[in-house]
C-alpha cells in the first residue's frame, strides 16, 4: 500500500513537472501582457522537434558521446525554441498590440500561430512519427518495491530548479520587478523609463526557453514525437496554470503538479479513458469554488 502510494507520488511528480514547465510559459506571458498565448503548447512541440534535430545531428553527423550531446542539447534547444517564441511575438503579436487591437484578437492570432506551427510541421516533416535517440543510459532503481529511473528524478529536479530560478528572477532581479510593474500598470511603466518591448521579449524568451526544455525532457522520457503532441498537453497546462491562479509562478507550478496528480490518481483507480473527464471535472469544481485560482487574488472592480 505504502509502496504504491509512493510510486504514484513519484509518477505524479514527474507527469506534473511537464505541465508545470509549460504552464509557466503561459503564466509569465499572461502576467505581463494579459495575453493567453495559445501557441505555447505548440512551442513546446517545436522544442521537442528542435531537440530531436539537434541531438541526431550531434550524435550521428559529428559523433559525440551521449552525455556531451545532452550537455550541448539543453542550451541549444532552449535558445532555438526561445527564438521561435520571440519570432511569434515580433511578427504576430507586437504589430497588433501597437495598433491597439482588442485583446481577444491577439488571442485569436495566437491560436492561428499554433495551428500554423502544428500543420507546417506535419506538412514539412510528414505524418511519420520520429523516434528520439537515447542520449543517456537509463538506470532503473528499485528501492523496496518503488521503481523509478534516473530520468524521472532528473525531470522532477529540473522542474523544481526552474521554479526556484524563476521565482528568483521575478521577485529579486530588476527585469522581474519590471515585469511585475508592467502587469500592475502598463501605461505608467514606459513613462518611468522601463523599456516595455524589451521586457516583453525577455518574458517570451524565458517562457519559450523553458517550454523547449520541457520538450527535450518529454522527448527523452517518451521518445516518440508527433506534430500534435503539443496541442492537448498545451491546453491542459493552460488549465493547470489557471487553476493555480494565472499570473503567479507558484500557482503555475502548483496547478501543474495538481493536474499531474489528479491524472495519475484517476488512471490508478479508473479505466484510463476516464482520465480527461475526471481531471477536468475536478478542475471545474476547483474553479467554481475559488474563481480566481488557488493563488489568484480576487480582483476588485473600480466603478
Amino acid at each position: 500500500m505504502l509502496v504504491s502510494i509512493i510510486q504514484n507520488i513519484i509518477n505524479a511528480l514527474q507527469w506534473g513537472s511537464f505541465y508545470a514547465l509549460i504552464a509557466l510559459g503561459y503564466t509569465l506571458v499572461y502576467g505581463v501582457l494579459t495575453l493567453i498565448n495559445f501557441a505555447h503548447g505548440d512551442v513546446f512541440m517545436v522544442g521537442a522537434y528542435i531537440a530531436f534535430f539537434v541531438s541526431t545531428f550531434l550524435l550521428t553527423t559529428i559523433g559525440l558521446p551521449g552525455w556531451v550531446v545532452l550537455a550541448l542539447c539543453i542550451p541549444l534547444t532552449m535558445i532555438l525554441t526561445s527564438m521561435v517564441g520571440v519570432t511569434l511575438e515580433r511578427i504576430a503579436y507586437r504589430p497588433l498590440r501597437k495598433k491597439g487591437a482588442h485583446r481577444l484578437y491577439v488571442v485569436i492570432t495566437a491560436l492561428m500561430c499554433g495551428l500554423i506551427l502544428e500543420n507546417a510541421n506535419l506538412a514539412l516533416l510528414g505524418a511519420s512519427r520520429k523516434a528520439f535517440p537515447p542520449l543517456i543510459e537509463v538506470y532503473v532503481y528499485n528501492i523496496g518495491g518503488v521503481i523509478f529511473t534516473n530520468l524521472k528524478i532528473a525531470v522532477i529536479i529540473t522542474a523544481i530548479l526552474v521554479f526556484l530560478f524563476l521565482q528568483w528572477v521575478v521577485t529579486k532581479t530588476r527585469v522581474g520587478m519590471a515585469m511585475q510593474a508592467i502587469s500592475y500598470d502598463k501605461f505608467a511603466v514606459p513613462l518611468m523609463g522601463i523599456p516595455l518591448d524589451q521586457i516583453i521579449v525577455v518574458t517570451f524568451v524565458l517562457g519559450s526557453g523553458f517550454a523547449g526544455l520541457a520538450g527535450l525532457l518529454f522527448a527523452m522520457s517518451y521518445p516518440i514525437l508527433d506534430p500534435y503532441m503539443g496541442a492537448l498537453i498545451g491546453w491542459k497546462a493552460f488549465i493547470a496554470a489557471v487553476v493555480g491562479g494565472i499570473g503567479d509562478i507558484r500557482g503555475a507550478f502548483l496547478g501543474g503538479f495538481l493536474l499531474g496528480a489528479v491524472e495519475i490518481l484517476v488512471v490508478a483507480f479508473f479505466p484510463s479513458t476516464y482520465r480527461d473527464l475526471i481531471a477536468f471535472t475536478v478542475l471545474l469544481a476547483i474553479l467554481t469554488w475559488k474563481p480566481t485560482g488557488l493563488f489568484g487574488i480576487a480582483q476588485t472592480t473600480k466603478i
Binding site: Y30, T34, I36, A92, P95, L96, K99, G100, A101, H102, L104, Y105, V107, I108, T109, L111, M112, C113, L115, I116, E118, N119, A120, L122, A123, A231, W235, F238, I239, V242, V243, I246, T273, Y274, D276, L277, F280, T281, L283, L284, L287, T288, P291, T292, G293, G296, T301, I303
Partner: protein
Amino acid sequence: MLRRYSVHLILAVTGGAIITMAYQEYLSLYVMSVLMFIGVNIILSTSLNLVNGYMGEFSCGHAGFMCVGAYVSSLLGVWLFAKDKVFGTAVLNPDYALYAFPFILLAGGVAAALAGLLVAIPSYKTRGDYLAIITIAANFIIISTIENIGAIGGSRGFMGMKRLINSMEDIVDLPWMPIWVFIFTVLCVWVIRRYVSSTFGKGVSAISQDEVAAEIMSVNTNKIKTITFMLSSGLAGIAGGLFAYILGYVNPGSFNIMKSTEVLVMVYLGGMGSLSGSVLSAILFTLLLEAFRFIIPVINDFAHQIHIISPDYDISQVWRWVLIPLLLIILMQFRPEGIMGNRELGDIFPRLKKFYRFK
C-alpha cells in the same frame, strides 16, 4: 413598401432558388453540402457572437454544446423513427418523421441549452479568462463523457440518421435537409436579432460595457447571463443537430477544441457584436476552406513546373491548415477589428438602409 418586405423577398428568392436547384439536381451533392455547412456555420458564428461579441465574455467551448445537440437529436430521431442496432425497432411510425423533425432538432437545442448551464452558473462569479477556461473544460468534459458511453458508440461514433431523412423524403419528395437548414438558419439569425434589439437584450450590451454599473442600474445580470448562455448554446445545439443529419454520422472527435477554434475564428473575423459580420464571415470562411481544396493542387502543379520544389515532394492538403491561419493572421494585421468591426451592414453603407429593414 419595398423597404418593408425586401428582406423577406430576398430570403424567399434565395431559399426558393437553392431548393429548386437541389430538387432539380442542378447542383452536385458536393455543392449542396457546402451550402448546408454554410448554413450551420452561420448559426454557430452568430450564436457564439451573442456571448463573445454582445455580452463580451470569452467562451471558447462552443463545439461542446454543438456536440450535445447533435447527439441528443440524432439519438432521439433514430430511437423514434428508425430501425437501429442500438435501439431496435422504431417506436413510432416513420410516416410522422417529417412532422416531428423540427421538434427533434429543438429537443437537441433544449438539451444543449441545459448543458449551457454548466458554463452559465460559474459565470455568476467568474469573468474573463477564468470563464474561458471553464468553457474549455466544459468542452472537454462533454466530449469525454460521450466517448465513455459505450452504448451509443463511444469514440467510434453513432450513425443511422440517413434512414430518417429517407423516410422524410418518402412522405413528401423534396430535398428536406437543405430546406430545414435554410429555415433554421433564418430563424436563428432572426431570433438573435430580436433578442439583442429587445429591451431585455439591451441588458446584454450593458453587461459587456460594465457589469457592475449594469448591476447598479437594476439590470439583473445573473438572469441575463443565464438566458444568454442558454440561448447561445441552445442555438449551437440546433446547429449540431443539423450537422449530424447532414453528415448522417456523428462522432465526438468532430466536436473537439479545433471545431470551437473554427467558430471563434468566424466570430472574430466578422467582428465582435456584428450580426451581419458573423453571417458574412461564416460564408467567407466556409468558402475559403473549400476553395483551398482546389487551389492547393494548382499551386502544387505550378511549383513543380517552375522547379522550386523537389519533384518527389507534393504540396498536400495539409498545407490548407497552414495557409488559412496565415491568411487570417495577415488579415488581422490589416483589419484588427474584423471585417465589420462592431457595426452592422446598414451602418457601413447607410444608403442600404433605404432598401431594407431587418428586425
